[in-house]
């Protein structure tokens, strides 16, 4: 493939395509303690994120449902693998870390030490695709909304 395609491959890495095709934790959590919807009105991405947070403010499970492009689906899927076993504060810090990483030129890493965000590097390809950043951050906005009990619908508008 030529140079041209390398950038595309950077965006659609195998890990992304894999998560998009086979999203992990793609299920409604009936006993969710926290939930929020994420809508990207411009491209029709729409998902609902479910979290179970225990009495010690630990996230113990995460799931999502919805439909969207490969980037938003993969990002949501990766999210549900990332946040379990983090505290609410740590999980919310992941939101900042991911959005900073994707939207800012350089960013000091704000990720909590306990979180393994290495897989999320797979999303880095969107940095050069500004029109797709909203897709990559959609699930994380929903996470932030769910954890902060803000209006039940988050958009990346």
């Amino acid at each position: 493939m030529n140079a041209d395609n390398s950038e595309l491959q950077e965006l659609y890495r195998d890990l992304i395509l894999d998560h998009a095709r086979n999203p992990r934790n793609f299920r409604r959590l009936e006993d969710a303690t926290h939930t929020a919807e994420g809508i990207n009105p411009l491209c029709g991405d729409k998902l609902r994120l479910y979290l179970i947070v225990d009495a010690n403010d630990q996230v113990i499970d995460a799931g999502f449902e919805g439909s969207g492009c490969a980037i938003s689906m993969a990002s949501a899927s990766l999210l549900t693998e990332t946040v379990p076993n983090l505290s609410v504060t740590e999980a919310d810090a992941c939101f900042n870390s991911v959005t900073d990483r994707l939207t800012k030129q350089s960013s000091n890493d704000t990720a909590p030490a306990t979180a393994d965000l290495s897989k999320l590097k797979a999303l880095d390809g969107v940095r050069t695709h500004p029109s797709r950043i909203k897709c990559a951050t959609l699930a994380w906005h929903a996470l932030h909304a769910a954890l902060n009990h803000s209006p039940s619908s988050a958009t990346t508008e």
């Binding site: 041209d4 950038e7 659609y12 491209c43 029709g44 991405d45 492009c69 490969a70 980037i71 029109s131």
Partner: protein, 413 residues
């Protein structure tokens, strides 16, 4: 004149050189602009008309005795005359200048419908409509207690005429219907539909946003009551548009907005409104944009709407042939009578991802719901990829689209 050929050398594709924006590289590839249904590019004559006006003639219109004000007024009102002629309106009093189709439709919803609608009355639209021809009616129905009826469409993306007819009763106070669907390209059989509506005394508003760029529009021949359109879809500036309405209807309607220019006399206890079309044009209008729209009309007339229509028809046929030949490609919108707007899906690749991959190769298409969510729901899809062709596109654009789609298939293989 012979059927224009779909080749670089056919007469009409010479137009391409008139459009500066088309001559650029995007992501290292020559731009292939297939998004004219969202917004058209402008010929240099339009861009220059606006800039020249600003450099030489600008002043506020209608209110001044000085030379610039007079020149600005002549240019602005001259654009109205061109528009009047272009759609064959009976009188310039019927050409209400607005900021676009959306405002034109809201004007009718609020000034025509709102005062007359009562609980029990109905407004009828179709499943094909753009949000701008849905939400204004939802709002006015909520305000008045009227009911919104929606005529279904079939699997080709055509309005089901029998069902539409069943819904047309004297309870329906207005039918709002698109000329051409922006999502699927379907051209509605307006003559037939309007004739039926006439018999029942139903007022008809045509959303002409997608009609104007593709075909000759004659509002008197159409015999509708209102025709709404946008400048930017017909290669003019954004922020411009027209509501054409029958003079007698406009005459009877209360003003939409209050302000300068729409009055003859203001007293605190008794304000006298201006005559048509000014009654509906409150405040300083989009002078430069409207002058640009006048230049766009000149341009379209110089190319000739019938030529444009034939060119696009042939090119659309060519594109459909190529797309149909692709494995896993599913056309969405296969109306018998279709404008050069084509939606489709490729395998299970999400339209948004397809759009990105095409953009990488310089091919600009629109992806998503195209402001027609009900259409997407009807087809059970989150959105489509839409390639729309304008007078400046050519066969090579289509070929590059197909090549780019092949590459997308590889990425998602």
């Amino acid at each position: 004149m012979n059927q224009p050929q779909v080749t670089e050398t056919s007469d009409i594709t010479y137009c391409r050189s008139d459009f500066p924006a088309l001559h650029q590289e995007v992501n290292g590839h020559p731009l292939v602009y297939l998004d004219s249904a969202a917004s058209g590019q402008q010929p240099a004559s339009v861009i220059d008309a606006v800039a020249r006006y600003q450099r030489e003639d600008h002043a506020n219109v209608h209110r001044g005795v000085h030379t610039l004000s007079h020149r600005a007024t002549e240019l602005y009102e001259g654009a109205r005359d061109k528009l009047c002629d272009f759609i064959n309106a009976a009188s310039r009093a019927e050409i209400v200048l607005t900021s676009g189709t959306t405002e034109s439709i809201n004007l009718v919803a609020q000034s025509y419908c709102r005062p007359i609608l009562q609980a029990g009355d109905q407004v009828l639209i179709t499943w094909l409509e753009h949000h701008s021809n849905i939400v204004p009616w939802q709002l006015v129905c909520e305000q008045t207690g009227a009911e919104l009826l929606v005529a279904p469409i079939n699997d080709r993306g055509e309005v089901e005429l029998n069902e539409l007819r069943k819904l047309m009763t004297e309870r329906v106070k207005l039918l709002g219907i698109g000329h051409v669907s922006n999502a699927l390209g379907s051209i509605n059989p307006l003559h037939e539909i309007i004739a039926d509506a006439r018999k029942l005394g139903i007022t008809v508003l045509v959303d002409g946003a997608q009609g104007m760029p593709h075909m000759n529009v004659d509002v008197q021949a159409l015999d509708c009551d209102f025709y709404a359109f946008s400048g930017h879809k017909m290669f003019g500036p954004t922020g411009t548009g027209v509501l054409w309405g029958r003079e007698a209807l406009l005459e009877a309607m209360p003003p939409y907005k209050g302000g300068g220019d729409m009055i003859l006399e203001v007293n605190f206890d008794n304000t006298v409104f201006n005559e048509l079309p000014y009654k509906f044009e409150a405040g300083t209008p989009n002078i430069s944009g409207t002058i640009g729209l006048g230049a766009a009309v000149d341009y379209l007339q110089s190319v000739g709407m019938p030529n444009i229509h034939e060119h696009e028809k042939a090119l659309h046929r060519y594109m459909v042939g190529k797309l149909e030949a692709m494995d896993g490609l599913r056309l969405i919108g296969t109306a018998k009578n279709q404008a050069s707007v084509q939606s489709f899906m490729l395998n299970d690749i999400h339209p948004h991802d397809l759009g990105t991959i095409l953009d990488h190769q310089g091919v600009a298409v629109r992806t998503g719901h195209h402001c027609a969510m009900p259409v997407m729901q009807r087809f059970g899809i989150p959105g489509t990829v839409r390639a729309s062709l304008g007078l400046y596109n050519n066969a090579s654009d289509v070929d590059q689209l197909v090549t780019a789609l092949e590459k997308a298939r590889q990425v998602f293989a």
